[in-house]
Symmetry: none
Subunit: 269 residues, 2 copies
DNA sequence: GAACAATGGTTCAATATATGAACCGACAAT
DNA sequence: ATTGTCGGTTCATATATTGAACCATTGTTC
């Protein structure tokens, strides 16, 4: 391991849970010598990647990070961070996949990817997703800003027989999503389409969008659902990472619970 | 220079103007050996601080940057408290405004805001501000830690005819700032730019940064200067408040004196 | 208030690691 | 076919990294 790599590795110990780390503490975490770690920290400090809190003498991430982030954001448009995971998702599930972004109170399509696996595909060709009827929309309502619920309620257009058309229906649907961590639309937008989605987070720590799989309802089975959920988790994590965020712990917990409870059901049957 | 420092230094070559850099190109810029630079880039890539564009084979800033930035902003919310006052400042003065932060002995740009008022604008595209030549830098030297003066003296690069290039010059310039409470750079960094700045404080009670207005020298008048000083005071107070600090009484006193003495001059004339 | 155990920071001999000239294969232009 | 790039690799040389021991402060314990 090169000296540079060791130095850079130190950065990974800083997190929102542990934003400031003292020299000795960091030595323990990285299992390195104090002198070595100290010199590494100095190199990082020279570049402004970390700085020392003058009060506590502990180290924290520095201002240069923000400049680099600005450049990164300008350099790499968000779309680019979505392509690869979306492609993977489409291949792994054999279904059509989407990534949507939330802007204001509207859910826009950002990117989509078809899988060549099946002859029949769910083809969704819209630019904005109805909040109350699509998996992406519902997922966004469930985990996005509070105000979205009102907006959703203001337009409960009945696309299909199962579209939520009352405040109670919508509330119940969103509640389920809150409990499972996955957005879900059971033929509620198009009759033959079963949607599943997972939230995406960015560097602000707020919900930034959703990644979703639109499955042809006729071939939707519990097994496929489990596969899709699994792949959605992977995709959501990866896209969130590419966007500079992470899946919040409470969502991860929901997912873990969803999966284990399903495993229990499966082994029980 | 340590290997780690050399590695980290590579990051500074990436900017919005030059977001992707090839290996050979980067070697020329950094004046280093190709093999060395290549290994350094690999170390950076392992950590995700840079990534290689698979199409062009060139390197660009990586996704890990965004996550670090998220943590940094969560740890030390600086950008958050800056946007609104900076926008106000740009609108009120009609000039390009900056906020810089001091980390160690370096003055970093944190945010900038252009005013659409004039066709000509002062465009400053640097990541670190020279201590001896810019209003922000001088203001930071004047009100920051003592040691900054030595650092400033160690690099008196003559940007323009009016740049302070001797210890006496610099000392006199800083003395003026000590007396007025405003950083000032009369075309000392760029020929057509007149800079004014005010110090910012955080919860530690020490100087944390500076807010500055870069005015096009051709339209700089005593009236505009008074307007800018007034708006700078407002912005500096607000940003300091947002950062958990307050402008120290002695600075406020200087400002009060500056303004009244100018008023006296004005009424006398 | 003396002893103790943390902390951040420094030194210097031993040695593990970084270095760069030369080289390779691929590609583009002349 | 030649030449000049490019990104990437090799290996002997030597330079920069390492860590045990040390120091100075600070805060805690008895």
């Amino acid at each position: 391991m090169s000296s540079a790599a060791k130095t850079l590795e130190l950065l990974t110990y800083f997190s929102t849970n542990w934003p400031e780390i003292g020299l000795s503490q960091l030595c323990k975490m990285a299992k390195r010598d104090k002198a070595t770690t100290y010199r590494h920290l100095q190199a990082l400090e020279e570049t402004g990647l970390i700085e020392q809190n003058p009060m506590t003498k502990r180290y924290r991430l520095g201002p240069a990070i923000l400049q680099l982030a600005q450049t990164r954001e300008a350099t790499v448009p968000r779309k680019l961070g979505v392509q690869a995971p979306l492609f993977e998702l489409a291949n792994a599930t054999g279904e059509t996949c989407h990534v949507t972004v939330l802007s204001g109170t509207t859910v826009y399509e950002l990117a989509s990817c078809d899988s060549p696996k099946h002859g029949t595909r769910a083809i969704i060709d819209i630019q904005t997703f109805p909040l109350h009827a699509t998996a992406s929309g519902l997922c966004t309502v469930a985990f996005g800003p509070e105000t979205l619920m009102e907006v959703a309620l203001s337009n409960l257009h009945p696309f299909t027989a199962t579209t939520a058309t009352t405040a109670q229906d919508l509330s119940a649907t969103v509640q389920t999503i809150h409990n499972t961590g996955f957005g879900r639309a059971d033929r509620s937008y198009e009759n033959e389409v079963q949607g599943l989605s997972a939230p995406i987070y960015d560097q602000t720590g707020h919900l930034a969008g959703a990644v979703s799989v639109a499955s042809v309802a006729a071939r939707f089975t519990p097994e496929l659902e489990r596969v899709i959920q699994n792949e959605l988790m992977i995709a959501a994590r990866q896209i969130s990472k590419n966007w500079g965020g992470t899946i919040p712990a409470h969502i991860e917990a929901l997912w873990a619970k969803s999966l284990t409870s399903e495993n229990v059901l499966e082994t029980a049957s």
